[in-house]
């Protein structure tokens, strides 16, 4: 028996790609919602109100201190017990977004806090409102600081989407499992899935690198 069955590999590609489609969707969706919610978390962490800071800190601590797999199970299986039956894909999207928010929240908080107080004051002295300052002065600079760690978060997220297989999402890993169950070509299928994950992450890393280079073109340490 060969280590790799090239025939099966080629034949399974369309199924796997369909799964990869879900993987990319979950990754992008999880990142977009996770970033948005993470931004809220970051603002709460930087808030002057103690209560908001406390809530955000507890949230981040909970998300970082519990396994994603358990978080997904709580949302998909756990909530169902109270009649809140979510489909696999929405469950996965919610779970991944909430999880990513815990990490991006910390990244964004650190990036915003790294911007010198003088930038806030200079903007204020020129008559800018708080939202204007955030949007036009702070975020463009904080983004440069946040981009590398956010990129890492994103790559992790791509790989973490495979956990959605456990809650019936027909993503890449799940598809590989299904084909394996029928063909018993275990190594071929999982290895092919691994190569596809690798291609997706590499492509995304490349995009991230380009973004970083463009963003930091004019910023030098001074």
């Amino acid at each position: 028996m060969n280590l790799i069955d090239p025939d099966l590999m080629v034949k399974s590609i369309p199924f796997l790609l369909k799964g990869a489609g879900y993987t990319v969707e979950l990754s992008l969706g999880g990142m977009i919602f996770g970033l948005a919610f993470g931004f809220v978390i970051a603002l709460m962490r930087l808030s002057r109100r103690k209560l908001l800071r406390g809530i955000a800190r507890t949230y981040v601590s909970f998300i970082r201190g519990t396994p994603l797999l358990v978080q997904l199970f709580v949302i998909y299986y756990g909530l169902a017990q109270f009649g809140l039956r979510l489909d696999p894909i929405p469950s996965a999207l919610i779970g991944l977004s909430l999880n990513v928010a815990g990490y991006t929240g910390e990244i964004l908080r650190a990036a915003i806090a790294s911007i010198d107080k003088g930038q806030w004051e200079a903007a204020k002295a020129l008559g800018l409102s708080w939202p204007q300052t955030m949007r036009l002065v702070i975020m463009p600079q904080a983004a440069r600081v946040a981009l590398p760690p956010l990129g890492n978060s994103f790559i992790s997220l791509v790989k973490d989407t495979s956990l959605a297989a456990t809650i019936q999402v027909p993503e890449l890993f799940r598809q590989a499992q299904l084909i394996t169950a029928r063909t018993f070509q275990i190594f071929t299928m999982y290895f092919t899935a691994a190569v596809l994950y690798w291609i997706i992450s590499t492509a995304l890393s490349w995009v991230q690198e380009r973004l970083e280079r463009r963003a930091s073109a004019h910023i030098r340490a001074d």
Binding site: D116, A125, G127
Partner: protein, 368 residues
């Protein structure tokens, strides 16, 4: 714009940064807030800007209460110590920023903004660098961008926090001169903070000397330098000999040196301090003039000047004389000379009320 600061108090975490500070600034005046770190000068500037708010007291702009008006609505131009330029924007965009974000009736068209920014960049001599980023500029150039940015919104008052603090000596001097000219041209009311007394005396119309959250003295550079109101001002501005003395019936005794201190005619017996600037201390050969006998301890040649360290009794003091005078006296270490202060000022230990002395009998001609 006219500024009136009335009885301002400010504490930071229990530490008093400003205690009962009152100051009036005239329209078009350029005022230096001078003092050591922790003297409250920066706190006062930030309160003027609306970046901090006083615990009590008032700030009036042209008679109107601005005490609790935020910096956003105060129309002040603020130049930060470390420039605080927006690093992700070009020089042009930095200067234009205060105008491009403006909404409502005060809004300018793109052309108007472009004209104003180009004009400002010409004025700060950065016309060719509009498309550069702050990281591509030298410290002096960044400082001028910061100034142009502050001026772009046509502020009613220009506030500068240690404007030249981070620059090297040569650039500093150049920018100083240039700020003075700019102020003369624009006639804008300006306040700047500095710990450099030379900078304050050179640039400002009026110098406000601060110490421990209080104003020690406010006056023209000449007043501040020639008639310091307190021992602190004396010591902070320029080199000075401070000598222990006894004051009795209008006469001050510094070791073997006896000087009239007529303002203290009524004082029976008190310990005091005498302040004498090194260039006000006249030296002459033994038997050729008036004064007390002192011993030459050290001589250092400082370009056109000669600094002579002397021992009067047990007190060490410094004199500065010209190279020519040094040659005439033929000074050597260990030699005895006569010293006489052309000007001295006395403060009683208990109450710092001073007097100035100029004795007509003293030989003055051979001074620097």
């Amino acid at each position: 714009m006219m500024i009136d600061i009335r009885n301002v108090h400010k504490t930071f975490g229990g530490f008093p940064a400003l205690s009962d500070v009152s100051l009036k600034i005239k329209e078009g005046e350029l005022v230096a807030l001078l003092g050591p770190s922790g003297s409250g000068k920066t706190s006062l500037l930030r309160i003027l800007a609306g970046l901090e708010f006083p615990d009590s007291g008032q700030v009036l702009f042209d008679g109107g209460d601005a005490t609790n008006v935020s910096v956003r609505d105060r129309r002040v131009g603020f130049v930060f110590q470390h420039y605080a330029l927006f690093r992700h924007m070009t020089v042009f965009d930095n200067v234009a920023f205060g105008l491009t974000v403006r909404r409502g009736p005060g809004r300018l068209s793109k052309e108007e903004i472009g004209d104003r920014v180009r004009h400002l960049l010409e004025m700060v001599q950065l016309g060719g660098l509009a498309e550069r980023y702050p990281s591509q500029l030298s410290g002096g150039q960044r400082q001028r961008v910061a100034l142009a940015r502050a001026l772009a919104i046509q502020p009613k008052v220009l506030l500068l926090d240690e404007p030249f603090g981070a620059l090297d000596a040569r650039v500093r001097k150049e920018l100083r001169r240039w700020l003075r000219n700019l102020h003369d041209e624009l006639k804008i009311t300006g306040v700047f903070v500095t710990h450099d007394q030379e900078e304050a005396l050179d640039v400002a119309d009026r110098v406000v000397v601060m110490n421990k959250g209080r104003i020690e003295q406010a006056g023209t550079p000449t007043q501040i330098y020639d008639s310091p109101a307190t021992p602190f001002v004396y010591q902070f501005l320029g080199n000075v000999n401070s000598l222990e003395c006894h004051i009795r019936d209008g006469v001050a005794q510094i070791g073997s040196l006896t000087l009239p201190a007529s303002a203290y005619a009524g004082v029976q017996e008190a310990a005091g301090l005498a302040f004498v600037r090194p260039h006000d201390l006249l030296l002459s050969k033994m038997g050729e003039g008036a004064g007390a006998q002192a011993e030459v301890r050290h001589i250092s040649i400082l370009g056109p000047l000669v600094r002579v360290e002397l021992l009067l009794g047990e007190q060490v003091l410094e004199a500065e004389i010209s190279r020519q005078r040094h040659a005439e006296l033929g000074l050597k270490i260990g030699q005895q000379v006569l010293i006489w202060p052309r000007q001295a000022r006395f403060f009683l230990r208990d109450s710092w009320q001073g007097t100035s002395l100029l004795d007509p009998e003293t030989p003055i001609d051979h001074a620097i």
